[in-house]
Amino acid sequence: MAVDRSALKLTGVRKQFGSTHIINGVDLDIREGERHALIGPNGAGKSTLFNLISGRFPLTSGQIQLKGQDITNQEPQSINRLGLSRSFQITNIFPKLSVFENLRCAVLWNLGYRYSFFKRISALKDARESADRTLSLIGLEDRREKMAGELTYAEQRALEIGITIASGADVILLDEPTAGMSHSETDAAVELIEKVTQGKTLMMVEHDMGVVFNLADRISVLVYGEVIATGAPSEIRNNPRVQEAYLGTQLEDEVSS
Amino acid sequence: MLSSGLTLIFSMMGVLNFAHASFYMLGAYFAYQTGLFVGFWPALFLAPLLVGLVGAATERYGLRAVHKFGHVAELLFTFGLAYVIEEIVHLIWGRAPVDYRIPESLDFTLFTLYQTQYPAYRAFMMLVSVGMLIALYFTLTKTRIGMIVQASLTHPDMVQALGHNVPRVFMLVFAGGCALAGLAGVLGGNMFITEPGMAFAVGSIVFVVVVFGGMGSLIGAFIASLLIGAIQTFSVAIDLSFVDVVSALGISVDPDSFWYGGLSITISQTAPVLPYLLMVLMLIIRPRGLMGTRES
C-alpha cells in the first residue's frame, strides 16, 4: 500500500538578487509519484525556482525539503546524491565525450565508484550495463559512440533527459524539455518522458500547453514569483486568475485545439 | 594607469591580456624612438597612438580569430604574444637597456617625506594618471560612445542589431586599453629603466593590482594600485626582520638554528612576495576582488 508522501516541499521560499525580488514566497507540496507541471508567463521565475531547489542558487529565505529531509542551501551534488536530478533548459551535456560516456558518467557516483583512480573503468560491468540500459531507454543506441557535441538538437535533448534519469534518482526536475522542438519531436519527447518517469516523481517547467495538459497530474501557476493557483488541469483551465495572467488567449487556444 | 587599461579590456571583453605589459613596454620604446626625433612632449602623444594602432591590429587579426575557441585560447594567445613582442623588441633594439631619460623640465625634487625624496616627475605621472582616469570615467559614463561600449559589453547582439559595428567597438576598446598601457610606458619608461625585461617585471604586478582591485572595476584598480604601490615602497624601506619582531616578544633565536634562515628575512626582503601573497589571498577569499563585478 503506497503511502502518500511528500516528495518535494517548498515553504515560504523567497529569492532576491540585490534589490530585485524574483521569488516572493512560494509554497508547494509535490506528492510522491506525482507529475507536476509549473507554468507561468516568461520572467515569472520558473527557472529560478528550479535553481533554488537543485541548489544552484542559495535561498534568501524559506525552506525546501526533499522526501522529508531539509535540503535548503545545500550544494548541488549533495542534493543530487539524496535522489534529486534535473535537466537544463539550455542543453547541458558533455560535448567532448561520447553519448555512451555521457551516460556512464551519470551512473558512476550512484554505483559507489567515487573518485577512484585505480580501477579500470572499462572493467566496470555494472556501470556499462546501467549506461546501456539508459541508452536504449532513450532510444539512442545507434549513436552510442558518437561525440555528444555532434548530435542533432533533439538527440541532445534526449541525451539530456537520459543523463538526468540515469543515476536512478526518484525526484526528477525537467526544465523545458521540449523547448525548440517540432511537433513530431515533441510527441516523441513526451512519450520518452512518460516512459522514463514511471514510478518517479516528476516536476517540470513547460510552455507547451499541449504537453502540460497531456502529462501533468497537477499544475501550479507561477506569476511574478508567486504561485497563484495549484490544482488539477481542469481546475487550472477554468481558474479566472490564471486566465487573466495569461491574458486569456493562449490557454483558451490550446484548450480548444 | 596600466591597471586601468587592463581592467578596461577585461571588463569589456572578458579577455585577460597577458601581453598588456608588453604594450607598456612598446609604449616606452616607441616613446624613446620618436623622442629621438621630436622630443619628449610630442612623443607623449604619439607613442600611445602607435601602441593603440598595434593593439588594434592585434585585436583584428589575432584576438578575433581566437575568440571562438574560448577564453583559454584567448589567454594563451596573449601569453604567446607577450613572448613574441619581447623577442621582437630584442630584435630591433637589442638586449641592453636603452637611454630614455626624464625630460629636464621635470627633473627636480618636489618635496621630501620621511627621508624619501619625492621627485617632480612622479607628481607629473600621478597627475597624468588621475587625469586619464577621470577622462576615462567621463567618456564611459557620459558620452554616447561610452554608452555604446557599455551596452556592447552585456548585449553585443542587441547593440549590433541596432546598427552599431560591434566588432569595431571591441577593437576600439582593446586599442584604447593598449594605448593606455603605452601611455604608462611612455611615462614609466624613463622613470624606471627601459629594457626588454621590463614587461615581465611590471606585468605580474599589474595582474595583481587588477585582480586585487576587482576585475571590472576601475575604481577598484585605482585603489588597489595605490595600495600595492604603497606596500611595495614602504616594505622595501622597512628593515625589520622577523627576528627583531620575535625578539621584541622576548624570544631569542640562535643564529645557528634552522629557523634563523627563515626568520632573519627582513620585511624588505619579503617585499617581492607580498603583492602576490595578497593576490592569492584575495582570489581565495573573495575572487571578485575589492570592488569587482565579474569573477571570470
Binding site: R56, P76, Q77, N80, R81, R86, F88, N92, I93, F94, K96, L97, E101, R104, C105, L108, N110, Y115, S116, F117, K119, R120, L124, I163, S167 | L16, G62, V66, H71, V72, L75, L76, F77, F79, G80, L81, Y83, V84, E87, I88, H90, L91, I92, F200, S204, F207, G261, G262, I265, T270, V273, Y276, L277, M279, V280, L283, I284, P287, E295, S296
Partner: protein
Amino acid sequence: MNAVINRSRFVLWSSVAVVFVLLPIVFSGGFELSMLSQMGIAIIFALSYNMLLGQTGLLSFGHAVYFGLGAFMTAHAINYVHDGGFAFPITLMPLIGGLTGLGFSLVLGFVTTRRPGTPFAMISLGIAEMVAASALMFTTFFGGEGGIVTDRTSGGAVWGVSYGPQIQVYYLIAGWCFVSMALMFAITRTPLGRMANAVRDNPERVQFVGYNPTRVRWLMMSLAGFFAGIAGALATINYEIITAEALGLMASGNVVLMAFIGGIGQFWGPIIGAVMVTFLQSALSNYTQAWLLYFGLLFLIIILYSPGGIANLVTMHSPVVKAGLVKRLIPSYTRAVVSSLILGVGVIAVIELLYRGTEAIGVSPLVSWLTALALVLTGAVMLSRSSKKVSQLWGELSPELAKWS
C-alpha cells in the same frame, strides 16, 4: 572487441618500450644522449601538465612549482645520502621528488582548485611568482643564486650502476618515463579520469550527477603534482644542479608551450610537443639568437590555425586515410607546403638579418634584404592562395568524410 583493443594496446606499449631501450644504440653520441635524457624528463613533465589542461580543463601557469620543489627536495635527499645520513638508492630518488610534488600540490591545490577557469589561471600565476620570489629568500633550501649542487653517484654503485655515465642516467630516465607514461595513461581510464573530462566539459553538469567538481580537480592536481615532482627529481639527477629558475615562470611557460604545440586533445600530444620543443630548444639555440621568437611565433600560429596542436592535425586526417582520399589532397597540400616553406625561409631570413646584420653572409645588404623580402612576399601570396584551395578541397570532401569520422 575488447580483446582486440587490448592486444593492439599491448603491442603499442611494448614497441614504445623497445624503442626506449634501443634509442641509445642509434643515437650514441654524448650530445644526443643528453638530449634524449632531456626529452624523457620533458615528456613526463608535459604529460603531467596535460592531466591538468587537456584532461581537466585547468590552465595552470605555475606547474613548474611542483617540478622545482620535487627537484630541490631530491637534491637535498641525495646530498643527505652523500653525507652518510641514510641509505637510499638513487634509482628510487624520483619517488622522493614525486612525493614532494604530491605533498605541495595537495596543500596548494586544496585552496586553489575551488575556482576553475581564469581565476585558477591567475592564482596559479600568483603562486608561481610567490614561490619563485621566496626561493631567493629561503637560501638554505634553495641555495640562493647558485642553487643546490649534488652528486648523482652518491651512495655508491649498486649492481655496477653508479649513474656516473650519461647512458645509465638515460636508462633511469627512460624507465621512469615509461612507468609514468603508463600510469598517467591508466589514470585517464579510471572513473576519476573520466569525471575529470566531464569537469572539463561541463563542471556544472558534473554537480548534477553527484560529483563535486572541486574534489575532482583537486585530486587531478595532486596527481599531476606527483608526476611533475618525478620529472623534477630526474632533472636533478641528470644535471646534478638545480636552481630557482626551474620553478620560475619561464619553466612553467615552457611546459604550456610543449603541451599546447603537441596537442592537448590527445594523450600522446604533449609527448610530441615535449620532444619537439626540447629538440628545437637545444638545436636552435646553437644556431640563432632568435629561437625564442620562433617559438613564440610557432605557438601563435598553432593557436590561430590549429588550436588542437599537432595531435589535432594528425587525427583530423584519419578520416581521410580511412576514406582512401589521401591522393586527392596531395597536390594542393604540396602547393601549400611549398609556399609556407618559402614564406618561412623569407621570415627567417628577415629575422636573422635583423639580428646579425648583413656582414654574416658576405652578400651586399641590399641584395640580401631584397631577397628576403621577396621571399616573404611571394611566400605569403602563394600561401594565401593555396590555403584557400585546401579549405575548398576540405569542404568538397567533408560529406564523404562524415561517413568515416
